[in-house]
């Protein structure tokens, strides 16, 4: 197995203007690597939702993208409040987003479901008061 191509990003918390920049950069980089546009779109959607969640709910975090010959792995890690009930958080429509971010169009409670829907596998490790690590994979 050859070494993956890796990209690393620091995602700032509570900054709604820079939110999404890491995802936008990944989209450009994957284009340069010649990845299938339909796959790029899935990666973009899943990563954006995870990136925004770190901005809104976790005061930022890190994003690591690993491009293997047969799959793309997205790892999002934060040291935010954690998710007390993952089953509930995964339900469409469940959101704890504050009023100020709802005014921007966030808070539909669709982000985590979108991440699941657009990836082939998704794993959430989370601990209340410690943080959340989400690993998603998309096969090529």
């Amino acid at each position: 197995m050859s070494e993956p191509v890796r990209f690393h990003f620091d995602v700032a918390g509570e900054n709604f203007v820079s939110a999404g920049e890491a995802s936008a950069t990944v989209k450009k980089l994957l284009r340069q690597l010649g990845v299938d546009p339909a796959v790029i779109r899935r990666v973009s959607i899943a990563m954006y939702e995870g990136e925004i969640n770190m901005v809104i709910h976790a005061n930022g975090g890190t994003a690591d993208i690993l491009v293997y010959t047969d799959r793309i792995v997205i790892v999002l890690e934060d040291h935010g409040p954690g998710i007390p009930n993952v089953g509930l958080a995964m339900q469409e429509g469940y959101s704890t987003a504050a009023e100020n971010v709802r005014a921007l169009g966030f808070g539909a409670g669709m982000g985590l479901p979108n991440m699941k829907r657009y990836t082939d596998s998704m794993d959430i490790e989370t601990a209340v008061g410690r943080g959340t690590k989400i690993t998603m994979e998309i096969s090529l």
């Binding site: 203007v17 936008a24 546009p37 779109r41 973009s44 921007l104 539909a108 669709m110």
Partner: protein, 109 residues
């Protein structure tokens, strides 16, 4: 139908343009960003009244062909300049989202 034909037919006012030869193959309307992210098909015209900078990110990551702001919605200058830098097809129209959807649906079917 191409973006430039759609723009001319519906008299959309351009706020920012990139590739206007791009084909529009469908439409979607909504203001909740994750709904749009999850449900707006690629190459769609996205009709919304939301006009903040996150709209640009969603449009480009979800591969929308263009964004049509309804009811004369106009973003602030920072958003406009970012849209231009990124070459996003962004239009505004006095029509309501309802009227825009109806017109678009008729044109594309």
């Amino acid at each position: 139908m191409k973006i430039n034909e759609l723009r001319d037919t519906l008299a959309l006012q351009p706020l920012s343009e990139g590739d206007t030869d791009r084909e529009v193959s469908g439409g979607y309307t909504g203001d909740l960003l994750s709904f749009v992210m999850g449900r707006c098909p690629a190459d769609s015209a996205w009709i919304t009244i939301m006009n903040n900078v996150n709209v640009l990110a969603v449009a480009s990551l979800a591969d929308a062909a263009c964004v049509i702001l309804a009811e004369d919605s106009v973003p602030d200058d920072a958003v406009l300049s970012r849209a231009r830098t990124e070459g996003i097809n962004l239009y505004t129209s006095p029509m309501t989202a309802y009227e825009l959807c109806g017109r678009l649906y008729a044109l594309l079917s």
